[in-house]
């Protein structure tokens, strides 16, 4: 009842805990410039943009194929302009960056165990590189035949 409750409240010690003012540092928008490893990471992530650019160019290429030999010749001419070549060379390096970082990181995501021990990273990455080589050669053969 209420008399009992008032008694309980009186005997319970109530105090405010001292809370020091913590210092919280705001993470700057330029955090990725602060460390070489962070910059490498952002470059790796930005490699997705040239991947998308390649797809867009390929779509234009398909449209040119669809539109006839004259349209395709105009597309090929565009590819030879200095701007396009610079774009594609830079994109090529980013796409290579994507491939190499992708294959080097893949073993960490897949823990393959044989006879109880985990396969070393190189043994998981190497087949990826081999497959890449084979696939590239096959595709090139079809295109250049």
């Amino acid at each position: 009842m209420s008399a009992v409750n008032r008694e309980t409240i009186k005997t319970t010690a109530v105090y405010t805990e001292f809370h020091p003012r913590w210092y919280r540092e705001r993470v700057s928008v330029y955090w990725w410039l602060g460390q070489w490893q962070y910059l490498k990471f952002i470059l790796r992530e930005l490699s997705s943009v040239p991947v998308a650019i390649f797809v867009v160019i390929t779509l234009f290429q398909l449209r040119a194929l669809l539109s006839g030999p004259a349209a395709y010749a105009r597309f090929e001419h565009w590819l030879r302009t200095p701007g396009a070549i610079v774009l594609n060379v830079i994109s090529f390096f980013f796409v290579l960056l994507h491939t190499i970082t992708w294959f080097n990181l893949a073993p960490r995501a897949i823990a393959i165990r044989m006879r109880g021990k985990r396969l070393p990273d190189l043994l998981v990455a190497a087949p990826n590189y081999a497959l890449w080589l084979v696939v590239s050669v096959v595709v090139a053969w079809f295109i250049l035949r």
Binding site: P20, R21, W22, Y23, R24, E25, V27, W31, W32, G34, Q35, Q37, Y38, F41, E45, L105, R108, A109, I110, A111, R113, G116, K117, R118
Partner: protein, 260 residues
């Protein structure tokens, strides 16, 4: 004889300071001294108000983590002579991405809450009777999670991970690695309970595989690898939840406990 080295140390007193400042101390360099020895020297002989955490001084308790020249390190495992050789000053700051309570002491309760949320203990759905004896584990079964069990909760990985700094609700590398340590343990049956906590944008999906956590880990736990493996598990679980929406049992084929 001993050279000298200058330590620039963050000082922050919440009663007096609005933001941290640096103070320089000159410290002798001995061949076997680590940064923690320098801090203890300063506290003993120069400025007793310097505040920092430390305990075992041998790299197992995880208390003495600080930023040394911008790198998260255990100060008991970072030798002064490496910096003295290069003529560098040593800048000692509290671990990044945590609130600072005072000087070099960080507020860790956020990390501890996240750690508790992933339930880092053995979860059993059925308790076999005592008469059945203890759980037995082969060396192969131990090997599956042993690396992740080496975590000493030093939170160096949190100081290294940019997502921890950018996204306050991201659960973080150590918590996920420890969740994975239990998921991979053959005695554990709690994988689905942890999945419900972790397989969310605030859990594992915030991770973009920067990889810094693995690089700075003093115990070679490889939390980045643990997180990527967990992502694969989460994908399989998500696919299964579509194929078998209701009859989805929690029994993982991987972790059949054997009490032979």
């Amino acid at each position: 004889m001993a050279d000298k080295i200058i330590l620039e140390i963050t000082r922050y007193s919440p009663e007096q300071d609005v933001e941290p400042r640096f103070e320089s101390y000159e410290v002798p360099v001995y061949k076997e001294w680590v940064v923690l020895d320098a801090l203890n020297y300063i506290k003993d002989k120069v400025d007793g108000s310097l505040t920092y955490r430390w305990s075992c001084r041998m790299g197992i308790c995880g208390s003495c983590g600080m930023m040394v020249n911008g790198e998260p390190k255990l100060t008991c495992a970072t030798f002064l002579s490496a910096y003295a050789r290069n003529g560098n000053k040593v800048r000692v700051e509290p671990l990044r991405y945590f609130p600072v309570v005072r000087d070099l002491v960080t507020e860790l309760s956020d990390f501890l809450v996240k750690l508790r949320n992933v339930k880092p203990w053995l979860i059993r759905k059925d308790e076999p009777p005592l008469s059945q004896g203890e759980f037995l584990q082969t060396p192969e079964q131990l090997d599956r999670y042993k690396q992740f069990s080496m975590c000493i909760n030093c939170t160096l990985c949190y100081a290294a991970c940019p997502v921890v700094g950018l996204d306050p609700v991201f659960v973080g590398p150590a918590a996920i690695a420890l969740a994975q340590r239990y998921n991979m343990d053959s005695r554990d049956q709690g994988a689905d309970e942890r999945m419900a906590v972790l397989a969310h944008p605030e859990g594992i999906w915030g991770c973009t595989f920067v990889g810094e956590c693995t690089r700075v880990c003093p115990k070679h736990v490889d939390p980045a690898g643990a997180i990527q493996q967990y992502k694969l598990m989460a994908v399989l679980d998500w696919v299964k939840s579509f194929i078998m929406p209701r009859g989805h049992t929690s029994k993982d084929v991987r972790s059949e406990p054997r009490n032979d």
